[in-house]
């Protein structure tokens, strides 16, 4: 298993009970000027975390600023990651320290970007999402286990649900394989395809 690989994550979670969280909220455009992939975590949800763009004045009620919430799992409302295709959104979430995002619904481009960065998007039912929010808010120390090999998500001492992922992507995530490595291994096939068109 290489360093990027992801298998079983057991952690407390941060509840972001907001729908239609777009990638402009996850990382505003003015922070996209870097030419590397590192360091975006400090500006994750920047305009929801800080008042008047001033780092010294956090919005006390925003979940990332509430000390009781922490962990490697972000639980968010439906249609998470909509809008801009900026992969910086996935980089920012991963860089902040999350390995899993749970929602009842992800925007397509964000889901691909997350998978390409070994940030696991877990789709649960609306009912299960509601249970997760209720449980985390009632007890922020409640742990959640996301088990990729068995494709299950389980609330400590409680409910469980299975989630979908393609066999291909599952293998990639469990072994730390990139799509690009796969594509590079198919170069001969791609060249043959070019000749056929």
């Amino acid at each position: 298993m290489n360093s990027k690989a992801i298998s079983v994550v057991t952690s407390t979670a941060v509840p972001l009970n907001i729908e239609n969280v777009d990638t402009d909220q996850i990382i505003p455009a003015r922070f996209l000027k870097a030419t590397n992939r590192e360091g975006f975590g400090k500006n994750l949800f920047r305009d929801w975390r800080y008042i008047d763009n001033d780092e010294n004045k956090p919005h006390e009620d925003f979940v990332l600023n509430q000390k009781k919430y922490s962990g490697k799992i972000l639980v968010a409302g439906k249609n998470f990651g909509c809008g801009s295709s900026r992969e910086h959104a996935a980089w920012a979430i991963k860089d902040y320290g999350f390995d899993v995002v749970v929602s009842s619904f992800f925007a397509d481009i964000f889901r691909n970007n997350a998978l390409n960065n070994f940030l696991l998007p877990v789709v649960v039912s609306d009912g299960f999402l509601h249970k997760l929010f209720t449980a985390i808010i009632a007890d922020p120390s409640k742990e959640i286990t996301v088990d990729l090999p068995s494709q299950t998500i389980t609330l400590a001492g409680g409910d469980s649900e299975t989630f979908q992922i393609s066999d291909y992507k599952k293998t990639c995530l469990l072994n730390g394989y990139d799509d690009i490595n796969y594509l590079l291994s198919q170069r001969a096939k791609i060249e043959a395809f070019e000749k056929s068109i």
Binding site: N17, I18, E19, N20, D22, D24, Q25, P28, A29, R30, L32, K33, A34, T35, N36, R37, D47, D52, N53, G77, K78, N79, C82, G83, S84, S85, R86, E87, H88, A90, F105, A107, D108, I109, N112, N113, N116, N117, S166, D167, Y168, K169, D178, D179, I180, Y182, L183, L184, Q186, R187, K189, I190, F193, E194, I197
Partner: protein, 471 residues
């Protein structure tokens, strides 16, 4: 077996299908820009790879460029570095760049079509979600992340699950004062900001067929705003007439050959779509948005929906949050409200027809003294055409300030921002919180509605200025 247009083009580009996994999809044309490409080039460098097919990638600088004094070095250090990095990468890897100062520079989704690079039947990707714009030519065009930009540079392929296909039929005649931006805002308001997630959309019907290419691009452009992977329109005589003679369009015998192929690009009569939606063009009014996602739109004579009347708790909370941000109350009319800014630009509405439409409305009239009006052409070619047609004089006399081409205040990445707390009626595509600047409040509308608002200083029904009766 009968097929949709989407399926026909997709299947023709599949190099390999992985069992219980994505397809390896061959990409005909790849557009890149300064913001989402540097990390992809860095990835190539780390792996010691060349660009596999450099002639299939075209670069421009648009997202992060200033729209004043483009002839001078960029003042802001990080922006300058990002634009320089693009120049450096393109030179090193042999990619054609239409950078600042080049007569073809402009918003990536404006220049591809106007140069004839975008052609029917192609697969097109770009690290930008509004790549769906190119679908107006009967292409499969969609936005990708930077890892996928790297894959395309390295192998000319990406790995994608095949989406479902939805057809949206728009039938009938549009009322005066209603334009293509209103059609797409109307559709998104019906289907919601997530209603087409997982789908690729084909727009069809008599209303769509009656539109110009530029109007069709506006519609396909905003497909992503309802969550769709992309949007497309089958090419027809309007498409071919637009393309003929463009810089990189096929010429001579090659054109004739391509034309025969392009004419076949349509969904079979009995093709089955996973979902169909029918829209009556006669139901569409000039549209405005009241909330913080493009699905929160309404006709200009409607009232803002009241969150307290919603049954579902999470929907109620979401609407409350949007209205609090926007400073609107449920049940009130937006028409007649004062706004401080009008932005006319972005990959949605910054083409020459948009500016002709606006000029014909404002000619001989002055903007309201209380309003700041920013006009940003989509490309150097559009900017030159504005001057050639004398539209610049009309804008200047009316008090509309013309800037240089770029994405500008659509995303507030450069210095063109809407001040905190102020309203902006914008021809762009996203009314997200802070999109046009921290705490800026965006109201999406057509170029006509934006121009009408600029003249009156208040959110206006353009039909009253055109002396046509609202339906």
């Amino acid at each position: 077996m009968s097929k949709t247009l989407f399926e026909k083009i997709w299947e023709k580009h599949v190099v390999e299908s992985i069992a219980d996994g994505p397809d390896v999809l061959y990409i005909d044309k790849h557009f890149i820009h300064e913001v989402t490409s540097p990390q992809a080039f860095a990835g190539l460098e780390k792996r010691g790879l060349p660009v596999f097919r450099p002639q299939k990638t075209i670069a421009t600088a648009d997202h992060n460029v200033p729209t004043l004094h483009q002839e001078l070095p960029i003042k802001e250090a990080l922006s300058r570095k990002q634009v320089e990095k693009l120049t450096e990468n393109c030179a090193k890897y042999g990619v054609e760049l239409y950078g600042l100062g080049h007569p073809f520079q402009g918003i990536v989704h404006v220049i591809g079509p106007e140069l004839g690079i975008t052609q029917p039947g192609m697969t097109i990707v770009c690290g930008d979600s509004h790549t769906s714009t190119h679908g107006a030519f009967g292409t499969i065009a969609f936005g990708i992340g930077t890892s996928e930009v790297e894959m395309t540079l390295a192998t000319q392929c990406i790995m994608q699950g095949k989406p479902k296909v939805m057809r949206i039929n728009v039938e009938g005649k549009l009322h005066p004062g209603v334009v293509s931006k209103d059609i797409i805002l109307h559709i998104i308001s019906k289907i919601s900001a997530s209603g087409a997630t997982g789908y690729f959309v084909e727009y069809a019907g008599s209303t769509i067929r009656s539109l110009s290419m530029e109007a069709r691009m506006t519609i396909c452009n905003m497909s992503i705003e309802m969550g769709a992977r992309g949007g497309m329109i089958a090419p027809d005589e309007v498409t071919f007439a637009y393309m003929r003679g463009r810089k990189f369009a096929p010429q001579g015998a090659d054109w004739d050959k391509k034309l025969e192929e392009w004419k076949k690009l349509k969904s079979d009569d009995d093709a089955v779509f996973d979902r169909e939606l029918n829209i009556d063009a006669g139901d569409i009014e000039p549209m405005i948005t009241y909330g913080t996602n493009p699905g929160q739109g309404m006709g200009i004579s409607d009232t803002v929906p009241d969150p307290e009347k919603l049954q579902d708790e999470s929907e109620r909370n979401a609407l409350r949050k949007s209205l609090t941000y926007m400073g609107f109350k449920g049940g009130e009319k937006m028409k007649g409200m004062h706004v401080q800014n009008v932005f006319i630009g972005s990959c949605t509405n910054s083409r020459i027809e948009d500016f002709r439409m606006i000029a014909s409305l404002i000619k001989g009239k002055k903007k309201s003294p209380d309003i700041n009006v920013m006009i940003v052409p989509g490309s150097q070619q559009v900017a030159a055409q504005i001057v050639k047609e004398g539209l610049d004089k009309i804008f200047t006399e009316s008090g509309f300030f013309i800037r240089q081409p770029g994405c500008s205040a659509c995303l507030g990445m450069n210095e063109d921002k809407v001040p905190a707390g102020e309203y902006c009626v914008s021809t762009s595509n996203r009314n997200f919180e802070g999109r046009q600047g921290p705490n800026a409040r965006t109201i999406l509308a057509s170029p006509l509605t934006a121009a009408a608002t600029a003249l009156t200083g208040k959110i206006s029904d353009v039909r009253e200025l055109l002396n046509v009766n609202p339906a």
